[in-house]
């Protein structure tokens, strides 16, 4: 070989150096890989697994909400969706089980579409042209269709519930049920409180996929069927709820009130049979107007709000006084119209005074002076002992979100004035459910029960086996007063209905015991003029109550707001429905003093016989006629006389009009201004008023025969108990 240039020593030395440099670099590289693949590996692997793993949620069917008799109040739609898992389909196709074409042919007629439409969907690809992992074939199809597709038993085809919540009764029980949000999650009411039971556990497809959500091979993927939500069985009776809501709706219009609410409770078990507030909303379309307006509408006034109910709280003071032996029925209380406490004179609602009263009478009259005296006898420690044990200022623990606890002044701040006013029910805020629980305690012989809305939670698994997840048994919280005290209280409260301020709730033979309360509303920390809350708490029958009913009307029309003439008759209309529905028979033993409804005879003279007949029928009076003719010439007794229901009126018939214009002045006391005016007008009397509120006295004695157009002066008092 002819080499022009030999390889020099320098060259050789430098090549060795070059080789060494390369080896050093390679050692660094090996070190780097060792670090990445051994030291860093666990962390990187975790991140990589996170990247590969995909969870596809399969929504679970939300549980139903049923009333106590199993009637559905909230349902998860009967709609279903059909999904196709491409991997399983392709596998089946590969194994020669079935082709996509055959599948489309079977599915299409059930969905009511053409075969090609289904086939196109099955062959749908991502925008990149790659096949999809799951394809939604149909949404919100009928259950029948879904079942038909299920029966085909096709590989990779999954029929599952589609999310839609139905409230078949619209507004009924909306404040109890609440509603769900767009994702089907409970947002308000029991839907929210029991969401974890209702929601169920979504099923899932878990597997490793590539960035286009295609499942990776040689990895374990699993399909977990969704666990359906449990059904909630309420203590609510759909029918009772309906009666209550119907009555409230009517009351709302009749008394031109802002809101009206009621609770029906079983005092023995604490089960709420009905609870409603009007106005309410339709949970099928819960969002009306702005979000604030909607959420305000979703509030359950009986649980989420507290208010001053006024005189209904006198039952606590009275019960305390009986239990503490501070009072006997025969004790006398003199009401002069006001009472001096410390250096302040506090008026009774009846400024002219109730005079001398027994203990039951101060409840019947709702006499503030009498209760100030009772408060004095008890002292604040004993009174507060009962305020606390009856649960004022504390949550009842009802199974409902955001329960209010009411406002009870701290005992340290209670001076003689506060003691006096609180004793007759002023200055204490309660929630509807709190007060219903107080009533239930008296109804249940002094044993306080935990109020609740849910009776049990049941679950039906995919095999149709039903099991009870949770059952709510009646829970006695404590003995607040003795059974004897409770019984005594009920007797007195029964007399309040039969003889006292709640006469308009009286139903013969049913022994309703109750107490009314009318309170000025507190707005911005002050008592607001012309804004009242009229409440009536009651139980029936007094001897062994089966039902507790609390009715509360928020801001009734100030011209007729007295609870005795708003909340009490409203309660009566509810009771009438309930007694029929629950087959509660009236007590006809007549052992007790029979209370007979009085009716004021209207002017019938000058009416035709037919007209007079129907008028009398309406007010439940019988009649007999005397003489011949078609026109009522005279009548006995005279118009304005108060007669018993079902008693007989004699109508003297003639053919001409009588010019005898004598009428009898009726008893206007305890009537509202409006009622007085209407009655007076029907009789042809004139009235002049002094003061405002309900009639407490009149210048012409009831029963006096006067000429028509005579003016009767009537003194009204604010029944601001």
């Amino acid at each position: 070989m002819n080499f022009q240039h030999k390889t020099t020593i320098t060259v050789k030395r430098r090549i060795v150096v070059l080789l060494l440099i390369i080896f050093v670099v390679q050692m660094v590289i090996v070190g780097r890989y060792a670090w990445v693949q051994i030291v860093w590996s666990p962390e990187l692997q975790k991140l990589a697994v996170e990247q590969w793993t995909q969870d596809i949620k399969i929504s679970a069917k939300r549980g139903k909400i049923l009333d106590r008799n199993g009637d559905p109040l909230a349902l998860s739609g009967n709609v279903e969706r059909v999904e196709a898992f491409t991997k399983s389909i392709n596998e089946a196709e590969k194994n020669g089980k079935i082709t996509k074409e055959e599948m489309a042919e079977k599915i299409a007629p059930i969905l009511g579409v053409t075969k090609d439409e289904v086939l196109n969907k099955l062959n749908k690809t991502l925008p990149s042209g790659l096949p999809m992992s799951t394809i939604t074939l149909a949404r919100r199809i009928e259950k029948e269709q879904g079942n038909k597709i299920r029966d085909l038993n096709l590989p990779g085809i999954l029929v599952s519930e589609d999310t839609k919540r139905y409230y078949p009764n619209g507004n009924l029980a909306s404040h109890i049920l609440g509603s769900t949000d767009i994702d089907g999650k409970g947002r308000a009411g029991l839907e929210r409180y029991y969401d974890k039971y209702l929601a169920g556990v979504p099923g899932r497809f878990r597997g490793e996929t590539d960035p286009y959500h295609r499942e990776l091979p040689y990895t374990i993927s699993d399909y977990e069927a969704p666990k359906n939500g449990s059904d909630i069985v309420l203590t609510i009776d759909e029918t009772i709820q309906f009666f209550v809501e119907k009555a409230l709706e009517k009351g709302l219009a009749e008394y031109k009130a802002k809101r009206a609410s009621a609770i029906v409770m079983d005092p023995k078990t604490g089960e709420i049979l009905a609870m409603a507030n009007k106005p309410d909303y339709d949970p099928n379309n819960p969002v009306v107007g702005t979000v604030e307006e909607s959420t305000a509408l979703w509030r359950n006034r009986m649980i989420n709000e507290s208010f001053e109910p006024g005189s209904v709280l006198k039952v606590i003071t009275a019960a305390a006084a009986i239990e503490e032996n501070e009072v006997k029925d025969s004790d006398k209380f003199f009401c002069s119209g006001s009472y001096k406490v410390a250096d302040r004179t506090i008026h009774c609602w009846k400024r002219t005074g109730h005079g001398l009263q027994t203990f039951p009478e101060i409840l019947q009259n709702s006499c503030n002076v009498g209760f100030m005296m009772l408060g004095e006898r008890l002292g604040k420690e004993k009174l507060y002992k009962y305020f606390n044990s009856f649960g004022l200022g504390q949550k009842t623990g009802i199974d409902y979100p955001a329960e209010e606890k009411g406002i009870l002044m701290s005992i340290d701040k209670v001076g003689p004035v506060e003691l006096a006013t609180q004793a007759f029910g002023q200055g204490i805020s309660v929630t509807g459910i709190q007060y219903a629980t107080v009533l239930a305690t008296i109804a249940n012989d002094g044993k306080m029960v935990q109020p609740h809305l849910v009776k049990k939670i049941i679950n039906t698994d995919e095999n149709g086996n039903t099991s009870v997840v949770k059952e709510f048994t009646p829970q006695i919280v404590k003995q607040v007063i003795s059974a004897e005290t409770a019984r005594h209280m009920r007797e007195i409260l029964e007399s309040v209905v039969s003889e006292g301020g709640a006469k308009k709730a009286y139903i013969e033979g049913y022994h309703i015991a109750g107490k009314t309360g009318t309170a000025q509303k507190v707005v911005d920390g002050r008592y607001a003029q012309g804004k009242y809350i009229s409440s009536f708490g009651s139980m029936v029958p007094a001897s062994d109550p089966k039902l507790v009913l609390f009715v509360s009307i928020d801001e009734p029309d100030p011209s007729n707001y007295y609870s005795g003439s708003t909340a009490a008759p409203l309660a009566k209309s509810i009771y009438e429905d309930l007694f029929k529905y629950l087959n509660m028979e009236p007590d006809t033993s007549g052992q007790e003093q029979k209370h007979v409804n009085k009716v004021v005879l209207p002017e019938l003279r000058g009416m035709g016989i037919k007209e007079a007949e129907s008028t009398l029928k309406n007010i439940r009076l019988n009649y007999e006629t005397d003489g011949n003719g078609s026109i009522v010439y005279d009548m006995s007794p005279k118009p304005g006389v108060s007669v018993d229901e079902n008693s007989k009126v004699v109508l003297y018939l003639g053919n001409s009009k009588n010019d005898n214009t004598k009428v009898v002045v009726p008893d206007f006391t305890e009537m509202t201004r409006k009622e007085i005016s209407e009655l007076a007008a029907s009789l042809g009397l004139k009235v002049s008023f002094n003061g405002d509120g309900i009639g407490v006295s009149q210048d012409v004695e009831p029963g006096t025969e006067v000429d028509k157009n005579t003016t009767v002066k009537i003194i009204l008092e604010q029944p601001d108990e």
């Binding site: 150096v17 070059l18 390369i22 390679q26 990589a48």
Partner: protein, 369 residues
């Protein structure tokens, strides 16, 4: 002139074949998923890699039988250099692919002029430096012309733009100047200038800077500049020490796009683990050692430098690929010689190795004098 030739360096030959075989296997494993979706044929790249390997083997065998000193032909070098420069200019007018003009021809059937440039420059520099003898120690006469030619190549390639090949060419040229006996003071100076140049290049082209920052913290932009680095690290990390077994990579499921190319070593790390990585790096180390041994055993300076240049080229290119895959260097598009899928580049790499094998037939060990 003694025409007698010895046998080729057998350990080197076997190493090349082993690496080529590993490459074919891994190209198949890495490409099958995308091929299935894109071409509905899992063997799309496998078949092509086999065909290119055939061409490569042919080129290697041809070059192993053409005595390397025949390359030292003035006309051949002149026309070769001229043709290379023409191709490097022509490529600049080709339609860009992924933002760079690197290919002449269509798709897989094209060639990259820069691949030819690598080999041509090594031949040219080996000839030039060996021809100058002691005069190489002069800066103006020895170093400057060499630098000028290398500079033209580098400049044309960087215009494509192809930063990585530019780096490889400059590194190889530098190694040849070093081996060729250029005084260290000049080399140190060159290194300084080179570093400065790199800083300037990064400063003027923002995408290079982004790649640098992506390398420093790939998680700062996990779906953008950091994506490849992160996905590559995920692959290596999931592979761990023993790997997830051949064929079972998950990262090749579209997480690492075109896994058979620049990031094939990540798939190797995932499937074969650190063990597999170590074996392949050791195989490259062995190949480089054999190459340098051939360079040392060659009595002719041209042959020595040629062997050094070819070996250094393999060393630099494989090292850059290893560093990029392990996120120890900014991401640049460098294939792993003999392993990555590659049409023309595989053929040129194997042709270079053929030259190296031929040099081994003329070493002292083979009793050639």
């Amino acid at each position: 002139m003694n025409k007698k030739r010895g046998p080729v360096d057998f350990p080197l030959f076997i190493t090349i074949l082993i690496l080529l075989a590993i490459g074919i296997n891994m190209v198949f494993s890495a490409s099958m998923v995308e091929d299935y979706y894109k071409h509905n044929n899992t063997m799309y790249h496998l078949i092509r890699q086999l065909v290119w390997s055939g061409f490569g083997l042919f080129a290697m065998i041809v070059m192993a039988n053409v005595d390397y000193f025949k390359l030292k032909n003035k006309k051949l070098i002149f026309f070769g250099m001229a043709a290379t420069i023409v191709l490097l200019v022509v490529v600049l007018f080709m339609p860009p692919l992924n933002g760079a003009r690197r290919w002449i021809g269509v798709g897989g059937l094209g060639i990259q002029p820069s691949e030819i440039a690598k080999l041509m420059l090594i031949i040219y520099l080996s000839d030039n430096i060996s021809r100058k003898g002691e005069k190489i120690k002069s800066f103006t006469y020895g170093v400057l012309p060499v630098l000028f030619i290398s500079g033209i190549f580098a400049a044309l390639i960087i215009l494509e733009p192809n930063m990585s090949t530019t780096m490889i060419i400059l590194a190889t040229a530098f190694a040849l100047l070093f081996a060729g006996g250029v005084p260290l003071k000049y080399l140190t100076g060159l290194l300084m200038v080179g570093l400065l140049g790199a800083v300037v290049l990064i400063a003027i082209a923002p995408y290079r800077l982004q790649r640098v920052t992506a390398f420093l913290n790939p998680w700062s932009d996990p779906l953008g500049d950091g994506y490849q680095a992160i996905q590559s690290l995920y692959a290596l990390g999931s592979g761990g020490f023993f790997g997830v077994k051949l064929g079972q990579s998950r990262q090749k499921f579209h997480y690492i796009p075109e896994a058979q190319n620049d990031f094939i070593f990540a798939i190797i790390g995932e499937e074969l683990g650190f063990i597999g990585v170590l074996i392949i790096i050791l195989l490259f180390a062995f190949l480089i050692w054999r190459g340098m041994k051939i360079a040392l055993s060659c009595k002719d300076k041209f042959g020595s430098l040629l062997a050094t240049g070819i070996t250094t080229l393999i060393a630099v290119q494989s090292s850059i690929n290893f560093l990029v895959v392990s996120s120890f260097m900014p991401v640049t598009g460098v294939t792993l010689p003999l392993i990555s899928y590659g049409g023309s580049s595989l053929v040129f790499t194997m042709a270079s190795l053929g030259v190296l094998l031929n040099i081994s037939r003329h070493t002292i060990r083979n009793g050639v004098e």
